[in-house]
Symmetry: C2
Subunit: 229 residues, 2 copies
């Protein structure tokens, strides 16, 4: 045990909240812990930060090791430092979050994870540590963000119907949205480009397909535009 310091030091970890958008559901990725504390309990993928890696690197590494997911954009969420959040000792964790399309990712448990699975948010198992609280905060952030930035466009096909876009917002906000208001607002933002195409292979009247005008969005963002639903 060769690492000695003048004052006691907290251990530093990272934890990752990965939201997965399913056809009709918003899920979160959990792993089942192989080791104590909280052995066999479900928890967020995460682990100790190495002294020679950045926080972002640690988050990506732990997520990849424990769940097999390597290509999501993790954004730093918040750092949790309550005194009793880990039964072993003082552990401060830097939490990250991401929103991904569930079907894009194959998951596979390894290292400290016995199992890995997507859970529906309103049917979570009992979680280790303060991970329920971390997920709550990630959801708050996601819902706050979706109101002023078009997060989530990446999760739709390149050409989509307004119904698909509305469903995405309803899933993330977890509440129904009035169709007429939604259409009025989203079209008035002038961020969608109407294409010549309509849906294919549907029984009902085929709906118009739209694509997202990323250039215009970036320009508006620079001007201090706020995307509010």
């Amino acid at each position: 045990m060769p690492f000695t310091y003048e004052y006691p030091r907290a251990a530093l970890t990272v934890d990752c909240v990965v939201f997965g958008l399913d056809v009709d559901d918003l899920k979160v990725l959990l792993i089942q812990r192989k080791l104590d504390p909280h052995q066999h309990q479900w928890a967020l993928p995460g682990g100790f930060v190495r002294v020679d890696e950045t926080l972002d690197e640690a988050a990506r590494r732990e997520l990849a090791e424990e769940s097999g997911i390597t290509d999501v954009y993790l954004e730093q969420l918040y750092t949790f430092g309550d005194l009793e959040r880990d039964p072993r000792e003082r552990v401060v964790t830097v939490a990250y979050y991401a929103l991904a399309k569930l079907s894009d990712h194959r998951i596979r448990a390894a290292t400290d994870a016995e199992r890995v699975a997507w859970f529906t948010l309103d049917d979570l198992p009992r979680l280790a540590f303060d991970h329920a609280k971390i997920i709550e905060r990630a959801l708050d952030r996601l819902r706050g963000k979706v109101r002023y930035a078009p997060i989530g466009f990446e999760l739709l096909p390149p050409r989509f119907t307004l119904t698909q876009l509305q469903r995405l917002y309803e899933l993330v906000l977890m509440q129904p949205i009035d169709k007429r208001n939604f259409r009025k607002k989203i079209l008035s933002m002038d961020l969608l480009i109407e294409t010549d195409e309509v849906e294919q292979g549907v029984r009902h009247r085929a709906a118009r397909l739209y694509k997202f005008d990323r250039k215009k969005y970036e320009k508006l963002t620079r001007q201090g535009f706020s995307f509010a639903i």
Copy 2:
């Protein structure tokens, strides 16, 4: 040196970005470092987190010790963990920020701070560590926030003119705002209550005084309202 661990550990610090709103200026609070590294350089108030205090407690304690400021609402900003940000060793810092009315606070340097002072943002001295980067991020957050939440109403007198409110936004956003558009937007949000009173003791035509409808704001926030300027 009695604290020994199996793996090397980063040191954990907190740093505080306190923005002070002056009559006509947005400033930031800096201290001059008494100790190495970066002795005599200007830096953010901050220091090491004790193993028996939360991150929020550490931020409040360090700010009070080094600057004398005790009553601002510090919000966690971001955690900075670049490998080379401190010349001594790996130090991870949890940054906090606050927006305060400059005239409400008396500042007084103590402990590790030789001096403490408010600096205008476009005239900062050379800063220790990555503190210039931390201030940049705090400014981004503040400007993002002011676009969708009425942060800053606490900084105005209980009854204020629309010109005072516009000036507050201009200071925080650091750009002029068109008067007609600002009034139209701010009044259409229906968050201001027009009072029977007008300004006192002014030479020009006395302007109407308004107060902020906090109850309505809280209700709208719960409904997913977004405050966009």
